[in-house]
């Protein structure tokens, strides 16, 4: 039995410390997902609070068929998408935005990277590169990449959470990965021949 199942049972019995344990276990993940989707720090902070509060209030709806973390992520993704739509109220936002083209993304950069290119950067410099690179992706690609590759959800779970078909998730994932690769390639190649600081 997953330890979360026991924690959830304790919360249902009125043990708030057990819920606090769940909060501390998953707050970073919820924050990361919210920040990736909304690209707004204040929204991400609000979403962490709203998602956990909603999870607490709706705990009776958690069936235990899926993992608690997946159930919680589903709530966080919903909250994030709602925020996003609210913020961009003037125009209708859909996950199809920016990604209408059916053309596959064709790689252009074929230079190989060094075995551990990220080790050429300090931690904060690397985080900065990764952040700026992923921020440049269209929203509909970014969410798919984050859920599928960063949070390690299945294609089916990602599709369900974002309201997309499985083929759409696969297609967006491919293009997200290839675009990120292409953009990171610039940084990692540059660093390869750069003089040491």
């Amino acid at each position: 039995m997953h330890p979360d199942v026991a924690l959830v049972a304790r919360v249902r019995d009125g043990d708030t410390h057990a819920f606090e344990q769940l909060v501390r276990q998953y707050d970073r993940q919820v924050f990361r997902i919210a920040q990736h989707i909304t690209q707004n720090r204040e929204d991400a902070e609000d979403i962490v609070q709203d998602a956990f509060l909603k999870a607490y209030e709706k705990l009776d709806q958690f069936q235990g068929n899926s993992k608690f973390s997946t159930w919680l992520i589903r709530i966080a993704v919903n909250e994030s998408l709602m925020r996003l739509r609210k913020r961009k109220n003037a125009r209708t936002v859909s996950m199809d935005e920016d990604v209408q083209t059916d053309e596959g993304f064709i790689p252009r950069d074929f230079a190989d990277w060094s075995p551990n290119p990220e080790q050429q950067f300090g931690q904060s410099e690397l985080a900065d590169i990764l952040r700026k690179t992923i921020q440049g992706l269209p929203e509909g690609f970014r969410s798919v990449f984050v859920l599928r590759d960063v949070e390690n959800l299945s294609t089916e779970e990602t599709a369900e959470m974002l309201g997309l078909s499985v083929p759409a998730v696969k297609s967006r994932l491919l293009r997200a990965r290839l675009q990120l690769r292409e953009r990171l390639s610039r940084h990692f190649k540059q660093a390869k021949g750069a003089p040491e600081k």
């Binding site: 709806q61 690397l126 690769r181």
Partner: protein, 85 residues
């Protein structure tokens, strides 16, 4: 297999979901096409680098503040009572 056909199989290849004959074709193409081999290696690395590095840090003080706010909002509420509303 052309490079375009190869790319179309990339997601399933990474997931290990290709049928054996198709996977053999993909591997044969990679063996012959240096460009596609680089694309596979660097795409795999792209996934790893995002998975292994925290892009959005959340400070310990912010975590404490958020946790306190959540717990205070939960106080006085019964867990899992949404269906009773």
């Amino acid at each position: 297999m052309t490079c375009k056909e190869f790319l179309a199989q990339l997601t399933d290849y990474f997931d290990g979901k290709l049928a054996a004959d198709l996977e053999a074709e993909v591997r044969t193409h990679m063996g012959k096409c240096g460009h596609c081999e680089v694309v596979v290696n660097t795409t795999r690395k792209t996934i790893e680098v995002y998975r292994n590095n925290e892009v959005y840090e959340i400070s310990p003080s912010l975590r404490e503040r958020l946790c306190a706010a959540i717990m205070s909002k939960c106080k006085g509420k019964k867990p899992g009572c949404s269906s009773e509303e």
